[in-house]
């Protein structure tokens, strides 16, 4: 499959390191000169821009965290005057106060470049109809993919979120060939197609670019089967630029990070120590080309690992694995770390394919309780009480072995767990801690 920028995407790693080092040095200088908050952090640590001579010196720099963004809200980390900022975007605010970021013209150009790379990497060309069901607006998903698709002169269908039946009709009637949406929305569209009696063979859809929430490999297979497409993972976050920081190629074996713009590190979230490639930890990014909102060593709270291999696609950029959770959506229940994505994997492994569930965490008599509500499906239902109790018991046993925690499993009526059209809400935590 194609490249958008073959020269850069297949760059020799020695050359890449040189380029990254040059860009990093200039970026540290830019941030030090223009962002008081970060300059103070560097001073506290006793580091000056002169200490940063190559990417090997990255570890000398202080981290930037979500709390730094909150402390300087709204524009305290901007590194250019507002007159040069031509766009603002904000994060969805699922983790406390919202975060606002800015872009110069060059920043938007870089962002379009990396999303165009993502679309090409999954086989997209200028002849594709690209159906964008990510939300438009302050959320970076919609506009991020939009600009990339436009950059490569594909045909953009800017549907945004909502009205699934209309979306299905558009996909069918217009002949959309690539869809960009969250994985949970992809499954929701598949439900709608079932309801409308439309089979994937009636559609021209062949690929999906999906991200913005954790999903499992099983869920990918489920989406691929039900929509008749190949589903590719894309990664990004508003703080760094939005979607397109990394995207999978045809191999579906991890997301190539656009390292000419963003340098990744994996750290131990407890100690901040940089971990060797291959080890799992918290992902940290340093922007080396951003002008308006250039974060250095930003802690993403995403937990993943990096992969260095000879990818058959010939891209030389490092790959990151699908994040297996976030340090901040991680639930600690009775001392056990629980990721909602684990629950999803268990359900899919058991062949309970509807994948609609809700975790309810509570504290009763100082003891955490976990209830997992699972929607009953046509396939699961049997006329025997014993059969249904056995299903609940089977789920409970599989959860216990995967989560290391007993959970009460409650079967509920079909379609009674609220569907989302953006990020899926999988947890209700009633504990007051």
């Amino acid at each position: 499959m194609g490249y958008w920028n073959r020269e850069m995407e297949t760059i020799d790693r020695g050359e890449l390191k040189k380029l990254q080092s040059e860009r990093l040095c200039a970026m540290v200088r830019h941030v030090y000169d223009n962002v008081e908050h970060y300059r103070n952090k560097m001073k506290e640590r006793g580091v000056t821009p002169d200490d940063i001579k190559s990417v090997d010196d990255l570890k000398l720099l202080p981290f930037c965290e979500k709390s730094d963004l909150r402390d300087t809200y709204p524009f305290g980390l901007f590194a250019v005057p507002m007159s040069e900022v031509i766009r603002l975007q904000a994060s969805s605010g699922t983790t406390g106060k919202q975060i606002v970021v800015g872009y110069t013209q060059n920043d938007l150009d870089v962002w379009s470049e990396v999303t165009a790379r993502a679309i090409c990497a999954v086989g997209g060309t200028k002849d594709d109809l690209i159906h964008i069901s990510y939300g438009y607006g302050l959320f970076t998903g919609g506009l991020g993919m939009h600009y990339g698709a436009e950059r490569m002169k594909a045909t953009v269908v800017p549907v945004s979120t909502g009205n699934s039946a209309r979306q299905v009709n558009i996909i069918k009637d217009f002949g959309s060939s690539i869809i960009c949406c969250t994985p949970s929305y992809a499954l929701s569209l598949a439900d709608t197609m079932d309801e409308m009696g439309i089979s994937p063979s009636e559609l021209k859809l062949r690929a999906g670019i999906m991200g913005a929430e954790p999903w499992s490999e099983q869920m990918r297979r489920e989406i691929e089967r039900r929509l008749g497409i190949k589903a590719y993972d894309i990664y990004g976050l508003t703080e760094i630029t939005g979607p397109g920081v990394a995207c999978e190629c045809s191999e579906q074996s991890g997301m190539h990070i656009n390292e000419d713009h963003f340098i990744p590190e994996i750290i131990d979230p407890e100690t901040g120590e940089v971990l060797p490639i291959g080890q799992q930890g918290e992902l940290v990014f340093t922007c080396i080309t951003k002008e308006a909102f250039p974060l250095l060593r930003y802690r993403t709270r995403d937990i993943t690992s990096l992969v260095m291999d000879e990818c058959p696609c010939k891209r030389t950029f490092l790959k990151m694995k699908k994040p297996c959770g976030r340090t901040d959506d991680m639930l600690i229940i009775r001392g056990v770390n629980v990721f909602p994505s684990q629950v999803e994997s268990v359900l899919l492994e058991l062949g309970l394919t509807s994948a609609h569930y809700m975790l309810i965490v509570d504290r009763v008599n100082n003891l955490d309780t976990l209830e997992i509500m699972v929607e009953m499906t046509g396939e699961m239902f049997t006329d025997h009480v014993k059969g249904l109790e056995e299903t609940a018991r089977r789920i409970s046993a599989a959860m216990a072995s995967t989560l290391g925690l007993t959970a009460k499993v409650t079967l509920v009526d079909p379609k009674t767990i609220k569907r989302s059209e953006g990020k899926a809400v999988r947890v209700i935590d009633k504990r007051k801690i």
Binding site: M376, T377, G378, M380, F381, T382, D383, H384, V385, L388, E389, A392, T410, L411, V412, D413, P414, K415, T416
Partner: protein, 143 residues
């Protein structure tokens, strides 16, 4: 001979049964017999109705988990010992009853008993062989 029973998953929640009944009412479906199996967390509602196919479609449309279960119904005299006889026949032939429920008919001195067994044909054969009448499906839907 084989009766199509509607089985519905019912969440333990206030108003669920009313919801189901309202859906059936709106679609003019008449209930001939019913039973409900309940556990701590959910129930299974079992219905004999005048139009099983329509009832299934209606409930599926309203997003219930529904299935059609094939059951038989026997006709027994409304007197002590009549059902015991039928059960003895099943026992002698090694046929387990998963569940059953009875309803009394409007006319005659008879009761109908819906029986769920694994092998309907075998049950029908042994029961009829000993003189027990099996209800015809039309009789169940429209008695």
């Amino acid at each position: 001979m084989i009766i199509k029973q509607i089985s519905v998953f019912v969440e333990n929640k206030l108003g669920k049964l009313a919801e189901i009944m309202n859906a059936l009412h709106k679609n003019d479906i008449n209930i001939r017999a019913l039973s409900i199996a309940d556990t701590k967390d959910f129930g299974i509602l079992r219905l004999i109705v005048n139009d099983p196919e329509k009832a299934e479609a209606v409930l599926k449309e309203s997003d219930y988990a529904v299935s059609i279960t094939r059951v038989i119904a026997i006709v027994v005299e409304d007197r002590p010992g009549a059902l015991a006889k039928a059960m003895n026949i099943l026992t002698e032939n090694g046929i387990s009853v998963e569940y059953m429920y009875a309803f009394i008919t409007r006319s005659e001195n008879e009761a109908y008993v819906v029986i769920r067994v694994e092998d309907n044909q075998k049950a029908v054969d042994v029961l009829t062989g000993r003189g027990i009448r099996i209800l015809k499906s039309e009789e169940a839907y429209n008695f």
